[in-house]
Symmetry: C3
Subunit: 311 residues, 3 copies
């Protein structure tokens, strides 16, 4: 009913097929959203996710309402709290009320990157799943970004058909001046494993291993060049440390550039965007015809339609 993490193998295949069907024909004859309301609730800012989800909603026939809570509305999550401080509303009421105004409730939230345990409880999305009476869709939560991962699966599926063998996909840590969540990387690993169609290798510096539950079953290498050898897809992404929670590191050598791409099997380059040019990836790689970053962004719309179309 909810869509907040990776579903099972069979369902991932169905979602990819459905996304591709919507990509060919975005406007279903029987609009699944007809006379229904989609609320997009943003506790943190968003560009791609907001635009692609709104567009997906419209194309399915939903009444789409987007609500920006950034800076505005502090929710209480503790049961039994005496609410005499800043928090104006308990998530029980918030989720209950919002459920009455919509048929699908999509929620974006970021981690604080201060308290690992709290972040990994994925409190906001979990509370909305608990108290909402309509399907809840994650538009990125503290620790996962499943619509991005579905779009990434679609993109890989579109470009892996010519390969004679299972594609080798390398998720590589890359430099970034700011402290970023682990959500995209966590979800990507989770989906690749659940999908079962690729061999995933994760490359990251020592101290930047993802949480055990997300990297379990995946080879993790601390030598980026070794990992990239023979790769068919290179997915670059920065994330802050899980072990030394929220810490980052200045490691400019981890940039993905033409030299490193030369180690691969003429791999496609992927990134979820926005991307820092010449920090995460060189201009040469990003401007080359092996870069799939725009296709990934495009597939966000069809991924969202695939998910929203059956809720």
């Amino acid at each position: 009913m909810h869509f907040t993490s990776a579903p099972d193998t069979a369902t991932i295949h169905q979602l990819i097929a459905r996304a591709q069907a919507y990509k060919r024909d975005p406007f279903p004859a029987e609009a699944p959203g007809r006379h229904r309301t989609l609320i997009n609730l943003f506790f943190n800012p968003s560009l791609r996710t907001r635009l692609s989800t709104e567009k997906a909603g419209y194309q399915l026939g939903f009444q789409v309402i987007t609500m920006d809570m950034a800076g505005g509305w502090q929710l209480e999550f503790e049961d039994g709290a005496v609410m005499n401080l800043e928090k104006a509303e308990h998530v029980r009421e918030a989720a209950g009320v919002l459920s009455q105004y919509c048929d699908v409730l999509a929620v974006r939230s970021f981690p604080g990157l201060e308290d690992r345990e709290a972040d990994y409880e994925d409190r906001i999305i979990t509370a909305f799943k608990t108290y909402a009476t309509v399907p809840v869709v994650s538009l990125e939560s503290a620790i996962r970004h499943p619509l991005q991962s579905l779009a990434d699966c679609v993109t890989i599926a579109e470009h892996a058909l010519h390969l004679r063998t299972r594609p080798k996909v390398v998720l590589t840590w890359a430099p970034h001046p700011r402290r970023l969540p682990q959500a995209v990387a966590n979800s990507f690993a989770e989906w690749m494993l659940a999908w079962g169609e690729v061999d995933l290798v994760i490359a990251n510096p020592p101290g930047f291993d993802l949480a055990e539950r997300f990297r379990a079953g995946t080879q993790v290498l601390h030598d980026q060049r070794e990992a990239l050898r023979g790769a068919d897809f290179v997915y670059a992404k920065n994330w802050s440390s899980y072990d030394d929670y929220g810490a980052t590191a200045e490691l400019p050598d981890w940039i993905v550039d033409e030299d490193k791409m030369a180690l691969t099997n003429n791999a496609y380059f992927m990134h979820c965007l926005p991307v820092r040019r010449n920090v995460v990836v060189s201009d040469g790689v990003l401007n080359s015809d092996r870069s799939l970053v725009l296709q990934q962004a495009n597939n966000r719309t069809w991924a969202a339609q695939a998910v929203l179309g059956v809720l």
Copy 2:
């Protein structure tokens, strides 16, 4: 033409009936909003009001445009002003221009709680009524919240059918850490009186009597327990002082809890939300099956459709 306060008895009955009809069938065959535009203008933030009004607009077939002015746009209200300071536009032009972009203009504004006379002139909504050339709908003004009150009437009507006698409705002041407007309480009293279907009693601490024009004709008690005795509906709400304008008081004993509800005729509990748990009302009362807070929020949509559907 406008909708900014309580209409007469007959019209309240019609509005309730219309709201209930939309609740049974939200999508009229002949959409009253077809090829028409609803602009929602927010000078102050809103969650429930915004979502329910947007949804109502969509369900009636309106083109819905929501505009958030918070922090942005300072209007001049004085005639003859030399506008060489912060205020960028006179309400004459603002209302005149907005009227050309829509068929219904809905406006939310809050009081400053500093200058009682200015607030009680209800300057923003009054100016829009004066200068707009389309119907103006209050989405809460400095001193009234009529769409909330209409939703409250619908909620009481739905739960009073089984009663053998006229329901006793108690509007009780409740504690709150912040200084709040009197708007919800003013409107609730105004509508209960105009509706004529209930016996209203207001309970509040000394110094917190509502303005004479809103409490006239209503029994006001300063003893909460005495007021609650035999109540069929308990409506809790904090408001700051009208007499010592904008002042508040720490009176935690005014919380509505199970002990106090035991004094009533197994009353329903009502609140307009958001509500501070264990400050305004105890968890036990709010979680009980006598709590109507979610139904009230739900009825906001149908109240908005009832009003917008004939403008």
Copy 3:
């Protein structure tokens, strides 16, 4: 394909005719926006432009998505930049991604008024034109406001029919407490010249001449009274200095008042709004039946439909 400055004479006549057709019948039988998406991207705040463009989009049948970037999202424009500072995304990716989410991309941006050369490169709108793969519409750029100018042409056309001779149109600088862009004045001059239906005279204080490329071919007078003599239309607008870039001046005598209007041929008064009463223009002039400011604002909708309807 794009709409960012004045088109040629023939096309201006077509646009005016199309705007007037939409004004008579806003809802085309074959909606040009059906199954298409319009994204309105605001790097700076907007009231009239946003509302009229959204309404135009809806009336043409577009799926309309408005995105407020103010304060949020810093774009990199330099090629080859090492993006390790504040700028989170390069305009290449931003424009490329947005192009995949819409069929028409409308963009508003303001000048910084610090660096004339940078402003007059009109960097944001130019970059979007370069990298977007869908038509780009200016909702006001650093140096032009073409949708305003088209609405002004429509307004003048509507009120010039009775004139026996070519109308004399005077664009006059007027006082204002803040430093304003030259965009509206630049565009107005550009469109009047390209339209070829009026005789334009520009009146401004010494030091406030518009950039050569915008005033070329137009008479510029530094004596306001001389300029106003015999005018059929008086268009008032403040702009900061182009020569002493961004500077302003306290010249209250440049207000447009009844005395000055008495010098004209019973001229109509025009302003793009918002307007500072009794600073830019006197109450008497603005409240008179010769004031066209509300008609201008109204024509914004039809101007936007005329442009969006063929993209």
